[in-house]
């Protein structure tokens, strides 16, 4: 039993007076993305759902939390007693469950944020909480105790998007992907916007973020991509001069589901390139001469991607 996170959060909520005076600032909608692969050890998820249970009790501040579970996860674990029990006794008790078929993680975000949006109002804030992080560790608990800052910043400071930034060392695959993949590609396809994004964050693919109702309405109506949707949201925020903020949530790493592998790093860069190409075409096709410009950018983009692959090969291979 590790109650420190929930206790700290409860103390904070009481001391800030929020329970008694939620004010006109709307509700916060927690949206949990349940891990795609079911862990053998539930300690991380137990800690996460202690937080969700606390949020569920604070009904004047938070809307009923929503947990999005991929149907493939569900069917892969139909015979798994631990999964069934955890789903029934913990997840369903503290949150509504949205079962969804999704081609990739960001599509489950789309389903979850979209469903929460339909329950929300103009002053509300939507808080995405990825389920596949090591919340059971000491640092993970520290992160859990800070995550609530993201929607609060959106509410209190009228920010449209608040990105949670995690710290990693320079040779961590996330850092390598962002430095040699994400930002390098962004500088090619959207150089002005890339510089603006980097003024806020070094983690443009972060899965920790909160978004205000008005901005979420806009991004839900744009094309939604199955992956790298945080990058797309940041680009839309810069295109439309939205208020972006960044908040440090601590040191944390993905659970070991193979994301550190060379193939995975390459795949993430390939996906980013694919998304940026589509978004660039969408924005530039109405302009004369776009196809020539596209070909030039595409050639450069291939060089960037190949260089990133070489670096990953050297460091992760």
């Amino acid at each position: 039993m590790k109650p420190s996170v929930t206790r700290k959060l409860a103390t904070r909520a009481k001391s800030s007076g929020r329970k008694s005076a939620p004010g006109p600032s709307g509700k916060i909608h927690p949206v949990v993305i349940y891990p795609y692969r079911q862990p053998e050890d539930y300690s991380d998820l137990k800690l996460l759902y202690q937080l969700i249970a606390r949020l569920n009790r604070e009904k004047d501040v938070y809307a009923r939390p929503l947990t999005v579970i991929d149907r493939k996860t569900h069917f892969a674990n139909e015979d798994n007693k631990s999964f069934r029990e955890f789903r029934t006794r913990t997840v369903a008790r503290h949150s509504d469950i949205l079962d969804t078929w999704g081609v990739d993680t960001c599509q489950t975000w789309y389903s979850g944020l979209g469903a929460a949006f339909e329950r929300g109002g103009p002053e509300d804030v939507y808080w995405l909480i990825p389920g596949d992080f090591n919340y059971g560790t000491k640092m993970g608990q520290e992160v859990l105790s800070r995550l609530h800052d993201l929607p609060e910043i959106c509410q209190e400071l009228q920010q449209d998007l608040c990105i949670g930034e995690i710290a990693t060392d320079h040779n961590n695959s996330k850092q390598l992907i962002d430095t040699y993949g994400t930002f390098a590609l962004l500088y090619n396809w959207f150089p002005t916007e890339a510089q603006a994004i980097r003024e806020y964050t070094e983690r443009p693919r972060s899965e920790f973020f909160a978004v205000r109702h008005g901005f979420l309405r806009e991004v839900l109506r744009h094309r939604w991509f199955a992956y790298e949707q945080t990058v797309v949201m940041l680009l839309h925020a810069v295109f439309d001069n939205k208020h972006i903020s960044r908040f440090f949530v601590g040191n944390i790493s993905d659970l070991p589901t193979g994301r550190d592998s060379l193939a995975s790093a390459m795949q993430q860069v390939d996906r980013t390139e694919r998304v940026l190409k589509l978004l660039w075409k969408e924005r530039n096709q109405p302009q004369a001469g776009w196809s020539e410009q596209y070909r030039v950018l595409e050639e450069r983009s291939e060089q960037v991607r190949r260089t990133a692959h070489v670096i990953f090969q050297n460091l992760l291979g």
């Binding site: 904070r12 001391s15 800030s16 007076g17 800070r146 800052d149 609060e152 910043i153 209190e156 400071l157 920010q159 608040c162 003024e199 806020y200 208020h243 972006i244 903020s245 960044r246 908040f247 440090f248």
Partner: protein, 96 residues
């Protein structure tokens, strides 16, 4: 700061801010808490040349920055970054 025994519990916390600008002549702190007044919160230079100030802040999140010889400067130790109403990048501090 002292509070009446029978009064409401304090809703503020004293927070220390430090700015390393050894060559600066004048450093002040500006933020939402003082309506971005360039004069109301001057920082004090310590013997090691760092500039210090303690500010009472309410619970919640605050935007702030240092004015180093009149130049708006981000706090490299800040927990976050946002924009102020003038669309300038400023620092963020949570107070719990």
């Amino acid at each position: 700061m002292s509070y009446s025994r029978y009064g409401a519990p304090p809703n503020t916390r004293a927070v220390n801010f430090m700015c390393i600008a050894p060559e600066a002549q004048h450093v002040t702190m500006v933020g939402d808490f003082n309506q971005w007044s360039p004069t109301s919160h001057p920082m004090k230079q310590m013997p090691d040349k760092t500039w210090l100030i303690m500010v009472e802040l309410k619970h919640g999140h605050h935007r702030y920055a240092f004015l180093v010889d009149g130049q708006l400067t981000l706090d490299p130790r800040a927990m976050g970054v946002a924009r102020n109403d003038q669309n300038e990048r400023v620092s963020l501090v949570p107070v719990s």
